[in-house]
């Protein structure tokens, strides 16, 4: 496998690759990491679209939405945590550089978004209880 393109790209560009690809194993690792990362992001986007579509049926505070929001929040939090761990390990393996980044702009922001969705699911759960209570008031 020839990686001259990547090396050339790395040398002549101002853009620094997160993990420079220098060997075939690094390329495979990078590919697997990116594949899982983007699969998880796709799953989150798909789930978000499903929940948004469920609002269009004029049915609010359903079990489906509660579970969806909860799952979405948990997925975002887990993905942020796993991505941070993955990036940390990849830096050690590919850059031989020990670096721990907990940037406000990325990691904590996604944790906050995940927590927001979990809180939203709790609010929807309470609303669902109140709704069913109201429906069972004769």
């Amino acid at each position: 496998m020839n990686f001259s393109f990547f090396n050339e790209y790395d040398l002549h560009s101002d853009i620094e690759l997160l993990f420079p690809i220098t060997s075939s194993s690094a390329a495979v690792l990078q590919f697997i990491y990116s594949f899982f990362l983007y699969s998880a992001i796709s799953l989150i986007v798909w789930l978000m679209l499903k929940i948004v579509n469920s609002f269009q049926s004029n049915k609010l505070f359903t079990k489906y939405q509660i579970t969806g929001f909860s799952l979405l929040g948990k997925l975002i939090i887990w993905l942020s945590v796993l991505d941070s761990i993955g990036s940390f390990l990849m830096r050690i393996m590919l850059k031989s550089k020990l670096e721990l980044k907990l940037e406000i702009s990325t990691f904590w922001l996604f944790i906050a978004i995940g927590a927001f969705f979990i809180v939203l699911s709790k609010i929807f759960e309470r609303a669902y209880q109140l709704k069913s209570e109201n429906e069972l008031t004769i």
Binding site: S132, E133, L136, T137, I138
Partner: protein, 68 residues
């Protein structure tokens, strides 16, 4: 729930059918069924008043507290 609804007994005593009562009270038979089976979480005073008026009884005749 320790609150028992004695609607069936009252209906039997008055010789009235569920759908007749539902019509007089102004609720659906489905809602009356929920009330009769004890699945209801709450009852409005207006509904209770209408039932009492239709069955000529007191709220205590319909509702009963039984310790679990």
């Amino acid at each position: 729930m320790p609150i028992i609804i004695n609607l069936d007994r009252m209906l039997e005593e008055r010789g009235m059918k569920s759908n007749e009562l539902a019509e007089i009270v102004g609720i659906t038979t489905a809602n009356l069924s929920i009330l009769k089976t004890g699945k209801a979480r709450a009852i409005r005073f207006s509904t209770l008043e209408a039932i009492c008026q239709a069955l000529d009884c007191q709220p205590g005749d319909i509702l009963e507290y039984v310790l679990d």
